[in-house]
Symmetry: C4
Subunit: 218 residues, 4 copies
Amino acid sequence: MTESGGRDSDTGRIETFSDGVFAIAITLLIIEIGVPHAEGTESLFDKLVQLWPSYLGYAISFLVIGTVWANHHNRFRLISRSDHILLFLNVVFLMCVAFIPFPTALLADYIKEEEHRVTAVAVYSGTLAVTAVFFTLLWLYAAGNYRLVDRAVDPLLLRAMTRRYVVGLLLYILAFVLAFLSPAASLGLIILLALVFVLPEPEGSRGARRTRRRSVRG
Amino acid sequence: MTESGGRDSDTGRIETFSDGVFAIAITLLIIEIGVPHAEGTESLFDKLVQLWPSYLGYAISFLVIGTVWANHHNRFRLISRSDHILLFLNVVFLMCVAFIPFPTALLADYIKEEEHRVTAVAVYSGTLAVTAVFFTLLWLYAAGNYRLVDRAVDPLLLRAMTRRYVVGLLLYILAFVLAFLSPAASLGLIILLALVFVLPEPEGSRGARRTRRRSVRG
Amino acid sequence: MTESGGRDSDTGRIETFSDGVFAIAITLLIIEIGVPHAEGTESLFDKLVQLWPSYLGYAISFLVIGTVWANHHNRFRLISRSDHILLFLNVVFLMCVAFIPFPTALLADYIKEEEHRVTAVAVYSGTLAVTAVFFTLLWLYAAGNYRLVDRAVDPLLLRAMTRRYVVGLLLYILAFVLAFLSPAASLGLIILLALVFVLPEPEGSRGARRTRRRSVRG
Amino acid sequence: MTESGGRDSDTGRIETFSDGVFAIAITLLIIEIGVPHAEGTESLFDKLVQLWPSYLGYAISFLVIGTVWANHHNRFRLISRSDHILLFLNVVFLMCVAFIPFPTALLADYIKEEEHRVTAVAVYSGTLAVTAVFFTLLWLYAAGNYRLVDRAVDPLLLRAMTRRYVVGLLLYILAFVLAFLSPAASLGLIILLALVFVLPEPEGSRGARRTRRRSVRG
């Protein structure tokens, strides 16, 4: 058993716990949608259609958390050591992820009411922006000077990743600012960001990953 | 460590996350059943008996999600690589699975009311049909031209699997259509489908599985 | 890689999913306890004390599910193969386990009301008895003629396990019957059973376990 | 496969189950925060600001459970065997952890009401103190005379750990007592404790850990 194997296991434990939180947060989204009450001759179908903001919020947040999970997981493939600051940043980051069901329910409840729409979308996009802040901090801390990242990783890849996250963060902050001008545009940008971050990552990622793993188990 | 080991690990990560979502969605079903209020001389037993639609919905959905989990898991034993489209299709598929507690609660609340029964059963069977659509798409994408499936898998097995899922999908769509004619027949078909899909899969599955694993670890 | 390795992995997948359901069901128990409302000069402390049936229900169910988890886990250490009937029995068994939060909330709500106490305790103990029925069926199916159990396991151990579960099942049925005569005695028996089943199992278990694992990995 | 490997697996199973309970308890915290109702010209923003006790409770409990998880996980790296008493103490310990969402909701609901504040903070800090009692008991039982701890662990490290937990326990009891004098000071101490326990552990931990793992897999 090599040194790096021991270190890898340190981050493995953080990953397993984080994956649990992601899976639960994403599945809890559904319990925020209450079954509508249709009495007498009211149409249940109409009542269900009126719940569209809840379905929209569910779909966007599911996509966002799914994307954040994929990115978190990919990042931890490059991070091969852990320390107490990483642990702390990760707990605060998870605190933001697990919080997402609340602004999602807020969005679903108030998106149809003109006077409250800006507040609801701003809280929603603001939560995602703060989540992005901690994700970026976590990455900058781990990747800076190869502090916790495997030394075999290509420096060009590290820089590409950093660029990716800083740009992502700026766009989430833009979504927050947009919420005050056009809530619809803000939500559109958030959906776009979730879809873009599902796209393939910069070149070199897979290679580096495979290299590192080989050194761990080989 | 071989090439295919690295690829296998790619799908392993998707499987673990998916399993978490399945386990949580299936267990969350219970919180949709509220404790009845029996006041004074009312019989608590009668109140509990009147909740039978909730128990029925719980049992059907538990069986359905359990079956879907088993099929998902079996399929990922044949899928040995992953890419971003698979990841995306899987997230949308999980979005459908995690949604199931909502139409289950709807079914439980309205199955006894004649004027709303058709809507409730249609939404329930419709959700399952959409879930089946994405499961089938996921499989067709992975298995087409051996895109992400292990090349050692018997082509006859692949075709048998595809047939199985397409037929399953058509039957779920039939259940959706039936909901408008006879809600009871629709639910009956759904229960039947859950029981049938628990049955053994076409021949060759185990062999192929064993072959692939041997190539991964051996 | 040996034959039995592949089989072991079959049950490993069932175990992981079951463990997820156990962990979620046990943790969901808390959300059935609502925060009390104390207005004006009412004592919040008194209100909290009046919630004692909720704490009692929480503690008993937590202990029961914890014990059932430990027994389930220990049994799957002896079961080295799986088939579709085992899978089905396990899903029905998990359906019972995931149901436990509902009769727990029922118990907490009605144990203080004399006219409803018998019903609440009977439903609670009845749920546990049905859970024990499926656990015993699962074991009898797997262990009968060494159907799915490792052949290296001592037959005396198998018989001791079967005796243990059949006696346990009879005692849970007794708890159900007792509910109609003395709800307190019924609950007392349930607590006793949870504590007894945490006790060490019959001799030979560890030895057999170690033997099997060696044959799997060695 | 060595003896200690089999023992290690015994605790691995406890760890996986415990990690599931931690991840679910920490993520369930959010569902205790209900979306506020803003009608007509009321400011949704003001309503959200008034919910600050809920956010505070969420943040403190998330930090506390996160810290407890990290400590539990680190401890089980030194514990290499399990027995029924450890299993029982761990179930009771998890019962306390999974209970935390309830006093958290209580804290959020009553911290602003002067007449109920002491009760709410006392119940909250009391729950954490009881949790610390069982964590310390679990450790004392496992570490006493190297009962369940790897014999390769440095005795100085064991003593440092014991000191750490006993001091932590006394400080949680102090937080409980403080609740009656100054609820704010009590909460301040709890936040401080969560932050302190995230800090690096006494020297020697990593070394011992690495030693043990080598003996298990090597």
